[in-house]
């Protein structure tokens, strides 16, 4: 993670600044391409080749292989874009969020005011 995150100093929070955005550019560019159905199919058919095509680093590829959303965030992934990767792989917003918090889906939902409003 770029040192610039230290200047924000907000615990548990990754501020998507230009340094983080530059670091994660390949991730976000790849994920944003998954708004098209044919690209989602291509990704599912061969994840490794698809990641290679967008030039992800080995660390970034590993975070995606492990579906490690927190690590992906630390490496510059932005949820607005990697939510499209989540949708491709069957991970919704709240599943991703629970994992980033280190909780199960059920634990996370029990912290919400109106869990039915999804």
């Amino acid at each position: 993670m770029p040192d610039t995150q230290e200047r924000w100093g907000i615990p548990g929070t990754y501020v998507f600044d230009l340094a983080l955005s530059r670091q994660g550019y390949a991730i976000n560019k790849m994920c944003n391409s998954l708004k098209f159905d044919e690209n989602r199919e291509a990704f599912k058919a061969d994840e490794e080749a698809y990641m290679e095509r967008y030039g992800l680093s080995e660390e970034q590829k590993q975070a995606i292989r492990e579906r490690d959303w927190l690590r992906l965030t630390q490496l510059g992934g932005n949820l607005f874009f990697f939510l499209k990767l989540g949708a491709t792989l069957g991970y919704g917003l709240y599943t991703i969020g629970a994992q980033m918090r280190g909780e199960s889906y059920e634990q996370f939902m029990s912290t919400r005011n109106v869990p039915g409003a999804t």
Partner: protein, 281 residues
Amino acid sequence: MGKIVAGIGSSHVPSIGRAYDQKKQADPAWQPLFDGYEPVKRWLAEEVKADVVILVYNDHGTEFFLDCYPTFALGVADSYAVADEGYGKRPLPDFPGDAAFSEHLANHLVADEFDLTLCQEMALDHGFLTAMPLLWDHDDTAWPVKVVPLLVNVIQHPLPTGQRCYKLGEAIRRAVEAYPEDTRVAVVGTGGLSHQLNGERFGHINEEWDKQWLQRIQDAPRELAALSHKEVMTAAGAEGGEVIMWFVMRGAMTERVEEVHRFYYAPMTTGIGLLALNNSD
């Protein structure tokens, strides 16, 4: 002469759009939200009767990606398409623009030293779409108002300051009042309120902050606009920083405002706020 006839602040959470499309208006988890917007929708239709709405929003990789993301961008087209963000295109009609009014705004705002990116095509994602059908009735093919999309970068820092957004609102007011046609203009600032969608603090909301926000943006907007992004994000979450878009709306209103309606609901991961304001000077 053009006139600003309403100022609206509204969240733009995508799950609201899904609930709307799936007709969950009577679902117990969603009914409070749809009921909360109803009085504003009625006020806009029966009293405000705007001809054009300037809606302030941000794009999420739909029209603009990080390869080239403008700080401020203004639509200058006669129509705007509803985009498919990859989750299926929403069943909403495309939006009519008002190119002549947009051109006037562009000329006036650039002369007023706001150097906007001008867009002759702009596909609109949930940042724009969410609030519209909650505020204006539509049928399968048409909307009762024309729109002017105004994009603000709130996704990649450096973001413009809250004060810059406020001043842009003031410039919009001057531009509208210099418009020779008798056009009635509503300004909608979208986004917020508190939410965070990344990191270990995912799901952070701050209801106390949000409720104060809905009051202070009326009484002490300049004080709020002077807060740093870090101060706002610490209180309202990383993505809660997008509330600066409400300042464009507030800056376009008179110094004193009258509250027409206020609604707040924080069911899941976002403090959903709605505020309808009238000019009182």
